[in-house]
């Protein structure tokens, strides 16, 4: 059975605007893909530990030494919009007006 998913809700979580046509197509396609993907449940029993990667890695640390970082102008070179040394964006909070 194809899986039914709430595309509107998931797209909202992903901050992704989708057209009605895109949503309709995704509902069908993801239903089929998830039906296939759900097969993992057939063999993934409780006694099998999960693997996050190909081999186990502990945290990797380096010495806490200050190193040169990207100059501000370089970091801002590809910014869609800037204001001096800052990234400029549309409002992020209520202005209280």
């Amino acid at each position: 059975m194809p899986v039914e998913i709430d595309v509107d809700h998931v797209a909202k979580l992903a901050r992704l605007s989708l057209t009605d046509d895109e949503k309709a197509a995704l509902r069908v396609q993801l239903g089929i893909i998830l039906e296939h993907a759900a097969k993992v449940g057939e063999v993934a029993t409780d006694d099998v530990p999960p693997a996050a990667g190909a081999f186990e890695r502990a945290n990797v640390f380096r010495d806490d030494v200050v190193e040169p970082s990207l100059p501000v102008d370089e970091a801002l070179r590809s910014a869609p919009d800037r204001d001096g040394d800052r990234f400029k964006v549309p409002p992020i909070a209520e202005t209280g007006e």
Binding site: A11, A54, S78, F87
Partner: protein, 492 residues
């Protein structure tokens, strides 16, 4: 008579060493080939001819002082457009990065460049490396040099096609579920995916971080060994890069004698869905391994059938997280318009900038990680990953190397599978398990099918044993002596 661009890197190295050719001449040969064929192949998104000429001139001047030459010195290299290149546009095949000019180089390119390689250009690829046919590129598909109506494979299709057509001598790509090996197979070149972490991912635009692996495209296994020698090694900028010694891979190629080698033939990889021409060609190659002294037996990876399912939960989950960074704030596209707030701007930017496959995977991954579904999907997929790893461990107790076809089919017509995502995903059914387990694997051309399209055999070895897949691949190609040349350039 071959042009310089049709020679192997190791052949060019010899000619460069004795002064028979210059780096400028080698580059000119590749640039001529690009001019002749790339309006049809469409391997390159951003050619860098002028930069390359300057670089080759510098290099000739440097080498003329008697400076030491590396295996990469003067070799024209194509770089998949998912590696950042300082000052050179890097799109990842996406509209969302259409005008992005990175301020830093990926380590893989830093190493090649530092060893004297010359950048021919940035190559076309599926958007954010998501795809198996290069048809998900926002800039149009790559056309297979063996048949321009067919796909190059993907996602590193431009890099594979560029090397197949002689537009570059070497190329780098990224392999998350087969994106180096599958296009290499479909374009008739050698594609190596080393152990996860063997080559630094720093500057590789992230798709699925626990699977992403830097790989190589060459026209011989000897060149793959040379390239890996340049690229491999620890990088403090990638916490997952391995701090293991880098052996002399070229010295490990051996003399073609495979006596004592234990080869496991993955029986399930010759059944339903595998084209008869592919199965026949790979079986014939296995017979050659036996003739060279190897012992073969059948082997099964019992959970390989579930690997595809696990992959299509794990990779999109990681992608949905990685691609959250494309928000129209710091770099890349920002949707125009009078946005009420930043959140609305992000919705609009991402809706406008991402293509259909990327959206599909973001939604799929977000769903698989969302509250209430995490355990049933992502959590279960991680358990299957453990089972796949154990399958390999068990197989490598009995065998030194495993063989299968790289891809169930040869290159298919452009447009044939674009309407059916699940059919497209099945292209990677034999390549995905090695990414889940992190083990090294190589695709080596082993013949042509009845339609004259290249077939690749995949060789897989235990973690960090790249030397074995290179040794076996080298023995096979030396024995087969295929010298594959696509019709597009064969008459030259």
């Amino acid at each position: 008579m071959s042009e310089l661009c049709d020679l192997h890197g190791w052949e060019l190295s010899v000619k460069l060493a004795v002064g028979e050719v210059s780096a400028v001449e080698v580059l000119a040969s590749c640039l001529t080939r690009v001019e002749e064929v790339d309006d049809r192949v469409k391997a390159f998104l951003t050619p860098t001819a002028q930069l390359a000429r300057e670089r080759a001139e510098e290099l000739d001047a440097y080498l003329s002082t008697g400076a030491p030459q590396s295996a990469a010195s003067g070799i024209p290299v194509a770089v998949k457009d998912v590696f950042t290149t300082n000052g050179v546009r890097t799109t990842a095949g996406s509209k969302i990065l259409a005008d992005y000019v990175p301020p830093y180089d990926a380590t893989a390119w830093t190493r090649l460049s530092g060893a004297g390689a010359v950048l021919v250009g940035k190559t076309n690829c599926d958007e954010f490396a998501m795809g198996s046919s290069n048809e998900n590129s926002a800039y149009g598909p790559v056309h297979n040099p063996w048949d321009l109506e067919r796909v190059s494979g993907g996602s590193s299709g431009g890099s594979a096609a560029a090397v197949a057509a002689g537009e570059a001598v070497w190329a780098i790509g990224s392999d998350t579920g087969g994106s180096v090996r599958q296009p290499a197979s479909l374009c008739g070149v050698v594609g190596l995916k080393p152990t996860y972490g063997r080559i630094s991912r720093y500057g590789l635009i992230a798709f699925a971080s626990s699977l992403d692996t830097v790989g190589t495209f060459t026209r011989s296994v000897r060149d793959a060994a040379a390239m890996l020698g340049v690229l491999a090694g620890h990088d403090p900028r990638d916490a997952t890069s391995l701090d293991a010694p880098v052996p002399d891979y070229t010295a490990a190629l051996g003399d073609g004698d495979l006596r004592g080698l234990r080869v496991g033939v993955i029986t399930d990889a010759f059944g339903e869905g595998v084209e008869p021409g592919v199965a026949a060609s790979v079986r014939a190659a296995v017979d050659r391994l036996v003739a060279l002294g190897a012992k073969t037996d059948e082997v099964s990876l019992p959970h390989a059938a579930y690997a595809l399912s696990a992959y299509y939960l794990i990779a999109p989950s990681e992608a949905s997280s990685n691609l959250a960074r494309y928000d129209g704030v710091r770099y890349g596209l920002r949707a125009e318009g009078d946005h009420t707030d930043s959140i609305a701007m992000m919705f609009a930017t991402r809706g406008l900038g991402f293509g259909p496959e990327v959206k599909r995977r973001i939604v799929l991954g977000t769903y698989a990680l969302s509250a209430g579904y995490y355990d049933a999907y992502y959590g279960q997929a991680q358990k299957v990953r453990t089972l796949v790893i154990r399958d390999y461990e068990a197989a490598f107790e009995r065998f030194d190397v495993l063989v299968s076809p790289t891809s169930p089919t040869t290159a298919f017509p452009i447009g044939e599978k674009t309407g059916d995502p699940m059919a497209m995903y099945l292209n990677d059914i034999f390549t995905i398990p090695a990414n889940l387990a992190g083990v090294p694997a190589i695709s080596v051309p082993c013949g042509l099918d009845e339609a004259g399209l290249p077939v690749g055999i995949q060789l897989t070895a235990p973690l960090l044993d790249e030397a074995t897949v290179l040794r076996v691949g080298h023995a096979l190609e030396s024995d087969l002596q295929l010298d594959l040349r696509p019709p597009l350039v064969a008459g030259r």
